[in-house]
């Protein structure tokens, strides 16, 4: 039990995927213009990341490993992720059209979020069990969401700030991301793994 808490806290704060592993930077910079869209993206990513972490574990454990197909891992995982994303979109559209309208275009975008593939590959590397993989994926997604929502709120504020012309837009966004990463260094040393 405490093992799972360590994984969860470790992925949300200490080894945050965006700010210390630098994965998933494209949606981090791309979808953080407005707070509402950032929240939508976070929800969609959380769902997909958790599910794809579980699916890729099953694929690795019951297909790639027994048949010695480890060299197909990356392609196979990408395929699974794309399928999970598509499945999610179809399901959400059928079950809750409202949610589908909220998440909208963000669902397909998740396929290209490298954090999703990163979680699947890191799970294999750390030889996590099924439950551990699930928590690792969920923690990574919560960490991603937390940082994305805070970053979007900051950027909304920077829109109206008197930033020097040369640093407006993406430049000050990247500097902010760097300073956020600096602040997250405060968590070093905790939940070492």
């Amino acid at each position: 039990m405490s093992e799972l808490v360590v994984i969860l806290l470790g992925t949300v704060l200490v080894n945050n995927f965006v700010l210390t592993k630098f994965l998933g930077l494209c949606p981090f910079m791309g979808v953080s213009g407005k707070l509402e869209t950032a929240i939508g993206m976070s929800l969609a990513t959380t769902f997909v990341l958790t599910l794809s972490a579980a699916m890729s574990y099953l694929l690795e454990r019951y297909l790639l490993e027994p048949f010695d197909l480890a060299y197909l891992r990356i392609i196979a995982f990408i395929l699974v992720i794309a399928a999970v994303v598509q499945f999610t979109e179809i399901m959400v559209e059928k079950i809750s059209p409202l949610l589908h309208r909220v998440l909208g275009i963000y669902l397909p975008l998740i396929t290209t979020n490298c954090a999703v593939l990163g979680v699947a590959l890191l799970n294999v590397q750390a030889s996590h069990s099924f439950i551990e993989s699930l928590f690792y994926g969920f923690g990574a997604a919560v960490g991603f969401s937390l940082v994305l929502v805070m970053f979007a709120a900051i950027r909304e504020r920077l829109e109206v700030a008197d930033v020097p012309a040369a640093f407006q837009g993406a430049a000050i966004g990247l500097i902010t991301a760097g300073l956020m990463s600096l602040a997250f260094m405060g968590f070093t040393g905790m939940a070492n793994r």
Binding site: A153, D162, L182, A183, M185, F187
Partner: protein, 344 residues
């Protein structure tokens, strides 16, 4: 019958100019500086001077580059406050280039790239300090002077800051780990709290030196509250957050976790609560938001001190919550008087 003047609103004129607020903050820092000088020698004043020259110089240069009114922006004294807070966080004999690097980062990157006073997302002084903690970990941890016994004289302090040459007796004779640092290290080595307290660093004279520094910070903070510069929400919630966490863990296992009193009287918790967390630009603005923000800082100070790799967590905690401020403000917009809550 007397004639009363019947002018329309606004009746209260003359908002506090920024320079008055900043002057009060500087005055509030005076007791802390005095106690620092008593225990650690004149090094801290040299550090404040170096940081102030760099900060004010850079601010003036940037304002000139941007064709702004240099006098107006430098005259608001905010660069001096930033310089003083950064210098107070540094060890008393920090080499000059370390102080200069930190000041440059604080004023240029954290403040003026964001558009200057009023727009900086992060507390500039703490950005400068955290950069130094990560870039120069050794001087930041090892150059704390021992507050007891004869420290290096004025000449030796200046020599240490500007040439890096150690005092005659060598560094080991005059420096000593701070109590926070020592407790963290000893507990990590599996020692019990009673054993840690037997260490020479935990000598009552050393501990009381740090207690005096925090009492001076409290005095300065009460002055700020009295002057209306700082409202009670943030300092109280920071200190309560830290104290509640420390008490809970201390009760659960007194051998592993020092008491709330130890946490409040060591390091820069009180200084951080009154002077750093309350920065009007990077702190939350609504009342509820301020309580959340303060409590978050208090809890994170405890978490980083107890389980993190750095002995003190004030700077990191403040930056982490600065980062969350726009989101906190967004979700705690106060209800306007008479407004109905939306029915779901």
């Amino acid at each position: 019958m007397r004639n009363f003047s019947t002018a329309p609103a606004p009746h209260i004129l003359g908002a506090d100019p920024v320079s008055r607020v900043m002057r009060d903050v500087l005055l509030g820092l005076v007791p802390v500086v005095i106690v620092y000088v008593i225990f650690f020698g004149v090094g801290v004043i040299v550090n404040i001077l170096i940081a102030a020259i760099v900060c004010v110089g850079c601010e003036a240069a940037i304002m000139k580059m941007r064709n702004r009114d240099v006098q107006l922006y430098v005259g608001d004294l905010s660069a001096l406050v930033c310089a003083s807070l950064l210098a107070l966080a540094l060890p008393p004999v920090t080499p000059w280039y370390v102080t200069v690097t930190g000041s440059l980062f604080a004023i240029v990157v954290a403040k003026h790239l964001y558009g200057g006073l009023g727009f900086n997302t992060f507390n500039p002084a703490m950005v400068g300090y955290v950069v130094l903690l990560i870039a120069f970990p050794v001087p930041m941890a090892d150059l704390w002077l021992s507050p007891v016994g004869d420290g290096p004289g004025i000449g030796a302090t200046l020599a240490a800051i500007f040439t890096g040459s150690p005092p005659v007796a060598g560094w080991d004779a005059v420096t000593m780990a701070t109590p926070l640092d020592r407790v963290q290290g000893d507990l990590a080595r599996g020692m019990m709290m009673t054993e840690v307290m037997a260490d020479p660093v935990m000598d009552s004279a050393v501990v009381s030196a740090w207690t005096w520094i925090n009492i001076a910070a409290l005095a300065g903070g009460i002055y700020l509250m009295f002057r209306g510069v700082v409202r009670w929400h943030i300092p109280v919630s920071v200190l309560l957050g830290l104290a509640v966490m420390a008490t809970l863990f201390n009760i659960s296992n007194p051998d592993q976790y020092p008491s709330a009193w130890f946490h409040l009287t060591n390091g820069s918790a009180v200084l951080g609560a009154f002077f750093i967390a309350t920065d009007p630009v990077s702190a939350a603005t609504s009342r509820r938001g301020r309580l959340i923000y303060g409590a978050g800082i208090g809890v994170l100070i405890y978490v980083i001190r107890t389980w993190g790799a750095y002995p003190d967590g004030v700077a990191f905690a403040v930056l982490l919550l600065n980062m969350a401020v726009p989101a906190i403000d967004y979700f705690t917009i106060p209800r306007a008087y008479g407004e109905q809550r939306e029915r779901k």
